[in-house]
Amino acid sequence: MSAAAELPTKEAHILKGHEGAVLAARFNGDGNYALTCGKDRTIRLWNPHRGILIKTYKSHGREVRDVHVTSDNAKFCSCGGDRQVYYWDVSTGRVIRKFRGHDGEVNAVKFNDSSSVVVSAGFDRSLRVWDCRSHSVEPVQIIDTFLDTVMSVVLTKTEIIGGSVDGTVRTFDMRIGREMSDNLGQPVNCISISNDGNCVLAGCLDSTLRLLDRTTGELLQVYRGHISKSFKTDCCLTNSDAHVIGGSEDGLVFFWDLVDAKVVSKFRAHDLVVTSVSYHPKEDCMLTSSVDGTVRVWKK
């Protein structure tokens, strides 16, 4: 089990502070900080490596479901049950802009590489692109070809990828103006892109993670063992793309080998549903958040 030894399975810190479920935990671009958000309508900025709470952002009217930081760490965006996308200033803690328009809860939010737009995925079956540069609060684009709730969104330099409960992972390529829809037949809970950008990992609600080749849409591998049937649980790849990580509804976290889909390691991270897993962009460090109200930092 030399492979397992490389994995961050030792608890380094517990980040306590959220009252109620923590719905997402995300590293910032360089992995030095982490943002978490949850049921208590707050977003919290942490130093996960020292286990310190730095700042709390309050403005959301309902639970906060997702958060994402710009690459320059100056701004971040968040979304949640109040159907709005918030665009925040990190240092002052003020809301710069609120983007209204989603006709339902907003499940996920992401910046593009240059942090010029925010893309949000909503319960209203749409992806919306919001402009951060201009003062317009109207969406730049509404992508509404999904047939059901869009659960997750990922951006590349040229593409917008959304995963939806209708079972599709849709890639919208801006260069050629095409939409590629990969129907997986199972509601897609969470999508995450490999670091080399060639594969997309889709967590489906049949307790399966599926790895797709992005160019051909071919199913490369299937990862099973965890439970993901009714909650939004995250999945991601390690920064080396060697392992696949998935949270389970029984509080476990699973590590699979990317290639042969063997469960390399699994351990109990939380007592309750693991809502989110996030991997450090460079080091072997992982964040998990759970319904039990804690965020845990895992290291080697």
């Binding site: 306590k16 009252e19 109620g20 479920a21 049921k39 309902r62 639970e63 006709d103 339902g104 809860e105 240059s114 010029s116 737009v117 319960f123 209203d124 079956r125 749409s126 692109v129 402009d131 730049v140 684009q141 509404d144 070809t145 059901d148 659960m151 040229t158 409960v165 209708d166 079972g167 992972v169 919208f172 390529d173 801006m174 260069r175 103006g177 095409r178 939409e179 590629m180 829809s181 990969d182 129907n183 997986l184 037949g185 509601p187 609600l205 049949d206 399966t208 797709l212 199913l219 049937k229 009714s230 909650f231 042969d260 889909a261 063997k262 469960v263 309750l272 319904v291 039990d292 109200g293």
Partner: protein, 944 residues
Amino acid sequence: MGSDEEDFVFHGTPIEREEEIASRKKKAVAGASGNLRTLPAWKQEVTDEEGRRRFHGAFTGGYSAGYYNTVGSKEGWAPQSFTSSRKNRAGARKQSISDFLDEDEKADMEGKSLSASSQFDTFGFTAAEHSRKQAEKEQHERPSAIPGPVPDELVAPVSESIGVKLLLKMGWRRGHSIKDVRASSDARREARKAFLAFSTDEITKETPDSLVSETEAETSLGPQFNEDIKNSESTPVYVLNPKQDLHGLGYDPFKHAPEFREKKRSRLSANKEVGFRKPLSMKESLFGPKSGKIAPGFGIGALEELDVEDEDVYAGYDFDQTYVIEDEQPARPSNDNRLRLTSKEHDVLPGFGAAKNSDYSMERFNPPKIPKDFVARHKFSGPLEAETKPTVSAPPEVPPPADNNLKLLIEGFATFVSRCGKLYEDLSREKNQSNQLFDFLREGNGHDYYARRLWEEQQKRKDQSKLTLDVKLSPTVQKMTAETRGSLLGEKPLQRSLKETDTSASSGGSFQFPTNLSDTFTKSASSQEAADAVKPFKDDPAKQERFEQFLKEKYKGGLRTTDSNRVNSMSESARAQERLDFEAAAEAIEKGKAYKEVRRATEQPIDFLAGGLQFTSGGTEQINDTGVVDMKSSKTYPKREEFQWRPSPLLCKRFDLPDPFMGKLPPAPRARNKMDSLIFLPDTVKATRQVSESQEPKKETSIEEPEVEVEVENVERPVDLYKAIFSDDSEDDEDQPITGKIQEGQEKKNEAAATTLNRLIAGDFLESLGKELGFEVPSDVPYQEGIKPIEEESKSRSKPEDSSDKRLDRSGLKEKVEEKRSSLILGSEEEKSRKKREKSPRKRSGGNDLSSGESSGDERRRKRSNRKDRHRNNNSESDSSSDYHNQDKQGSRSRRKRRESSREKRSSHKKHSKHHRTKKSSSSRYSSDEEQKESRQEKKRRRD
């Protein structure tokens, strides 16, 4: 004193008061009672308690100060004396607040220090003090038996408090408990127990407390007996809940949050049963049944109403460390221990003491002595070994009995016994006790010969097995015994093993036994079967044979014989290659077993050798139905489709990408108003209807036919309806049917023209796009101005759409079913939608209902509008006076309809927006232009 007062009879002495004071008082009373309050503010007078005017005008002395509006006192203004001499320096005088207060203010200040007057102070120190003083006073007057001053402590007559007086009036007598004796004996006992448990220290010594307990023991025997004895009976009830926390006396941390009390109690009790923490359903207690699943702790604002989205999908979790931070009791464990200890100690009845030394002593037994020759290891005496021991010495050789039959029988039996073990001999001996033939088993005829035979057989067998089984000796025997035992017990031998024994028997010899045996004991037996069925190397019989051999050996589990003796011709590498192949094939076969119905594997056996990768994937294949489903679904999924998608120019700009559509025709220009786009929506209602139909496949055929026709007939949407809902305020006035249907007709034309134009542009665009992408583009439908062609077009289109719709919807249905099965919650949305679905039973109800309810209503509406449109078409050309009345009526009806629908829309807007599944069905009629776009895209796809 007025004259009217003379009629009354007065008791007591009247209070004498000065006239003017009285009048002032009256005034004050009147003021207080509100007579003056009714006056405007500037006319009201502020008076002091004496009724004197408090404030005066600036010219009459300003506000009242001091004595009658003067600065001084009754004696006049006197400055404070201040003397300071060289000898007597005036120190810094400390001023107190009372120096600056008026008398009424001082009274107020005093009022703050509230204290019970002695009359009402039942328990307080003041009462005792007071009574003591009283007694002291009386001491002097009263002649006493004891000369001299009596110590105060001895004689302290307690003045009765008002409470005692009240109780006495209510019939209470001194020395009785206040409680109802009969009702509360149980409660009292409980209280006593608690009290005992709590104040254990006192009890150990013989203190009044234990006396109390003793007397109370008596009371439990006869309640009437103790009536007069007891005044300690009224044990305070609070002892029921002994104080175990560190809060101040009487402080209740849960005073305003009683829900948490319950939680804490349950946690405490849970703590007692170690480790088990049950999820607490505090939502009931918190918010009542209405808001079943609200996340605890996160209320929504007062102005917001509870909605589905406020449900807590993570309900059932225990939020423990959050909220109510109350100090835990650090001293508790020790306290607990003490309690437990003492309660154990005081398990004895009150009045009894635990004996210091008891007569009872435990009787102890020595462990049994182990015999010296005992080996602490059990040895199973196999039948063979059991036999071999006594037969070590060979019985003498005996000539066979004369009877040939008997000889044969003996020989056969001996062989059998040697194979099956001594057990069999014993058994048959017992069985055939009366049988003459089997006399040789006992000391009868031929016994010697039998013994000899048996020994010979055994020797033979031993040699054989030694020859063949150098690894494992016993299995053969064991196997045989298992079988024989099975047959003896009347068990039906397994099919497989039978077959194998047959084959082995046919091939002859006991050599086969080991293989067979291992086959039966290792799991592979079925693989044998599979190997029979699956012959992956049909075309190469030699290879197939080798493969079978390989399979056998693979599952044999013992040492593997090298097959080199057989396949000498093969090179090492070839052999290795073949071995790999075999491994793969075997694995494939085993996997194939998992889903037996998937016989495809057996049909193309070589195939799975070709794609070697297949075998490595899915190592954790599950052998159940889902595995099959997955297998199947993975065949169909993932499915890739590609569509046109147009990013907005700004989006491309923000992503620093060139717009792929730059310079191309812009997308179909946005409709002039929302109305246009809505009118020519394809009938998506139809789609959902079919979904519901396919849910009831039995009724499908009967229902579908007429409906399809209806759909074909109804192509146009009721324009007015949409208008009523979606048109802007500015259009509302032209919308009114009374103001002019000519105008409306005109507008209609305009709209038709506009949409046709749009359509043409879109068609153009599509065509060009299609050419670009190398798709076949269907030839253009010749468009004409007006409504009819469009009608035709959609008519012609409706047919193929039907089928595709059905297909689409089936998949949709499948999704639904799957979704239902997996009972998504999915961050509350899914459940929400499900609930909504349930909430709208109309859509879920049976096919009959559906057709008669929703669709027929729809049809009616559409028909009506159709009729109206026809009217209008006529009207636009011809004189409309004859129709006017009729039209008006219809207009009013439709207006009502509109109003209804708009109301419906308003009320259900939220729902529709949330309700993504049924949205398509229910709200597509009112859907926005985004939906229209979507549908257009769908159409595009279909055309492609």
